[in-house]
Symmetry: C2
Subunit: 323 residues, 2 copies
């Protein structure tokens, strides 16, 4: 636990010392606003923990970790425009606080900046190549996510592939980057990547659950936001799977808006249906299965157990998160 | 001339063979639509001509050239959203043909793809670093361009700095990338870069003129588009400089919209004022000065004249362009 805390503090100190405020301020202020927000810093932490695990130097991993965080924030800035999301981490999103054009352009600059950070390490080519590969996958994931909104039916495998691309690959790549920087061999890089995919899938399923049941003050987003926006999350897809024809009809009507209801009533009715069907339990089971797969992948890393301990604890800690 | 034609045909053949059509098609179709449009391919051509000039291989420069073209198209896709431009190269812009969200996301993917292409050469680190540097400058240029729309006054030096960032640096970098790939020394890289800056400034000033006087069928954009959108181009700024207080008042009223006029009447009245003031001549003189500076920079490259001939001709050819 001390190691986790220590890496977090070291990274926070590092990121707070990076000069994000440049001219023209219109371009850079939204980047600083987003990247410097207090948060879990999940991607940098995974990168730093992986690097540390293989005996790598913090100083070689810190810029790649920052590249991953900046690239992630680029996707948030643009996704929030596309999703018309007003809140993120309890604060106004960039396009709300500034405007759409500013959010497009600052997001672009954040992405370019991420590539600049990715090169500041002793293995720049590998890190840039990994960042490149993962960012195109994240774009593909977002494309599927957008397409699902207008697609009549989405299967559970389609949904899982979407969240793999949109969320899991970036967590997996964060771990792999840390391993690469520390000089881990390819087999171990792959184990960590696999750990990250499984962990990332669990993490996103947890997000789907939290969106329905968490407290807005804790979660930092609007509770039931996915329901309001008709997002076909795992909660919704599991509900359809478990529903009787009558329940299925009710849920589809609520989502397709054939029944005129206001947002809050819609959220309440959908949640009531989820409760009837024990959807939360079903998604939690699936989530637990992914956490189990993650454990198996971590077990396969060819290091003594004590070296894996911090990453294992970190993942366990997150599996119980409320935000 | 034959060499220019030959490089253009070789690059066209290469780009048409690149697999832009992938799944999800929603993400990749707009990229293919934009990148594969027939056009001057100015940035790739500058890169290839520079590489050829120093005896470099086409095959080492083709992917960097494609990276520059793809990065340029990324900026077009996003700029057209911000500028609400309906037409580009005589065709519907991406956000018009698809929608804003699709244009944001496909633009993002184009940018990431550009970095992927940039690595496919024998000097990937240098090319990625150059692409990185230039793309952040282009974002800064676009930021200034946007800010100028709401800024009460813009000085001519401010405008020149904006077009340097928004347009000239990418042309200059295209040349430098070609030189780097061909193994030119730093002094020659810098001469070519300087040539590109001066040439790029002239090129943009020419664009400002063409926006006012070209035929839409030839130019591919709406004639007078800059005037309709109240863009403070060099035509506008030169007019303000040359105007009497009365004329200045009329021009500002037309731009600030204190007089209610429809678009066409506004364009006609602004153009009439430009004619009264001989603004076109004044901007053409400035443009000629930049072309002269470009010539001086090219003269300074340490190669025999016959090796510079193609690039020189190419620049001359473009200085007389109608689109």
């Amino acid at each position: 636990m001390e190691k986790i805390q220590q890496l977090k503090e070291r990274f926070d100190a590092f990121i707070n010392g990076v000069d994000f405020i440049k001219v023209p301020s219109g371009l850079y202020d939204p980047i600083a606003y987003t990247v410097l927000q207090k948060g879990k810093r999940l991607r940098p932490m995974l990168c730093l923990l992986a690097c540390d695990m293989f005996g790598g130097e913090f100083n070689e991993a810190k810029y790649p970790a920052l590249a991953l965080e900046t690239a992630h924030n680029f996707t948030l800035i643009h996704d929030d425009i596309m999703d018309q999301a007003p809140l993120r981490r309890g604060k106004e999103t960039v396009y709300k606080k500034w405007n759409i054009n500013q959010a497009i352009l600052s997001g672009d600059a954040a992405m370019v900046t991420a590539f600049d950070f990715a090169m500041r390490t002793h293995r720049p080519l590998e890190v840039v190549a990994l960042l490149n590969q993962v960012m195109i996958e994240v774009c593909e994931g977002q494309q599927y996510d957008m397409s699902f909104e207008t697609q009549a039916t989405v299967s559970i495998p389609e949904y899982l592939e979407m969240i793999r691309l949109k969320t899991a690959v970036l967590l997996a790549t964060s771990l792999k980057v840390g391993a690469v920087v520390a000089g881990a061999d390819e087999k171990d890089q792959k184990c960590l990547y696999d750990f990250g995919i499984a962990f990332g899938m669990a993490f996103q399923l947890q997000d789907d659950i939290l969106d329905c049941y968490s407290d807005v003050a804790v979660f930092g987003k609007v509770t039931g936001g996915d329901i309001v926006e008709n997002k076909k999350t795992m909660m919704y897809l599991k509900a359809l799977e478990l529903a009787s024809p009558e329940q299925r009809g009710r849920l589809e009507d609520l989502y397709l808006g054939d029944i005129a209801v206001n947002s809050q009533r819609k959220v309440d009715e959908v949640l009531a249906l989820y409760d009837e069907l024990n959807v939360k339990d079903a998604v939690e089971q699936l989530m637990a299965e992914y956490f189990r797969q993650a454990t198996v992948a971590l077990d396969a890393v060819s290091l003594p157990e004590e070296r894996k301990e911090h990453l294992r604890r970190y993942a366990e800690m997150l599996s119980g998160r409320q935000k």
